[in-house]
Homo-oligomer: 210 residues x 2
Amino acid sequence: MRRSEIRGHLLDTALRLFNQHGYHATGIDLIIAEAGVAKTTLYRHFETKEDLILAALERRDEEDRLAMRTFVEQRTSDPVERLLATFDFLETTVRDKQFRGCMFMSAAGEHKDTVDPVFRASSMHKRLALAYFEELAHAARFAEPKRIAAEINLLHEGAVAVAQITRIAEPTRHAKRMAQQLLATEERLTPAARGGDKTVGPAASSQNSA
Amino acid sequence: MRRSEIRGHLLDTALRLFNQHGYHATGIDLIIAEAGVAKTTLYRHFETKEDLILAALERRDEEDRLAMRTFVEQRTSDPVERLLATFDFLETTVRDKQFRGCMFMSAAGEHKDTVDPVFRASSMHKRLALAYFEELAHAARFAEPKRIAAEINLLHEGAVAVAQITRIAEPTRHAKRMAQQLLATEERLTPAARGGDKTVGPAASSQNSA
DNA sequence: CTGAAACGATACCAATCTGTATCGTTCTGG
DNA sequence: CCAGAACGATACAGATTGGTATCGTTTCAG
């Protein structure tokens, strides 16, 4: 393995183990053993275990948000459909055999103090996820994009939490239906009137797998 | 302290610390120090730390479910209002200064293996909570009580998760409004027709604090 | 090609972890 | 009232924790 790849490989290994066992339960010795790396090497890249956790979460944060954006934006261009497509993305992550719940919620659950850097990193990730929903809700010209985004966000968190406990993917589809139902009655401003669209009223259709 | 109270006191102390710091991060030494009890005493009541965790979760499970039932049933007798009142109960727990997220979700997050007894205990608690929603949805004569219960449950989990990260109580009220919106369009069977009630249609009103 | 930096391996450290052993004291049921 | 159980205190065990020190080897940029 080339030296330039070691840091990334350590982050990947740490993320895998954190996801599998949790943060406290995953020891440094296990990480270096799984990564096939000496302990000195790890500590040359990361000052402390907390630093490793923070770097891993940062990496995951960017990966996750980019993956969702990519998935959603290549699926449809309609903002409302995109809001609904976020649940399809969620379903793919939940269906993963390695799924054990949201790593950021777990991180916040193991670092409950609001001033803890790990908690703050998790909190920041969730804030950015919410910001994306707001962006979509705004593009969809909903009258109250912030409220819509908060609702979508709440459904996401609920779906992931239920999926974490039950270990089935159904809650994500259920959440999508709920989102459809809720969005259908929401007011919208000047809905990019093409064709004979109504100016207000039902917004969701999404014939795929809902 | 009377000896008959020691076990309960240990469970209370352990629950407080588990809620504050998490399960792995809370050491036996801290628990006995906070409880003012010798280590031998703790291990005479609980064989292992895992046993202590399981006993603590069991206690909390019963307390929580009883508290919700009591809160909900003394507030209103209408089953639909009761479903909505569960969110008011949630709000009270989230507003607590000691709130740091759902202890069962945290427990499941730190014990991710589905065969882990701690995970199973958390899973069981959630199953029983869902069963209560089903009971209420059935009493409300919804056409699909299981689906309604799952939706309420998902909104609960979402509200608690968002509240855990943001440390504000608003998500519980938001979730209640979403529940109202969703229940309003749900079909119901023979709705205990007294007065001039419609037989199907909007179900929710709940003028308090929504 | 060469010197510095990064690497692997290993030994080590102090602290902490869960759990046990010992023993004198205190409570309590019969 | 008294035997026996439960208690507090403490010392200890063995494993594991996060992190450091040492040192010979490998990589890589200039």
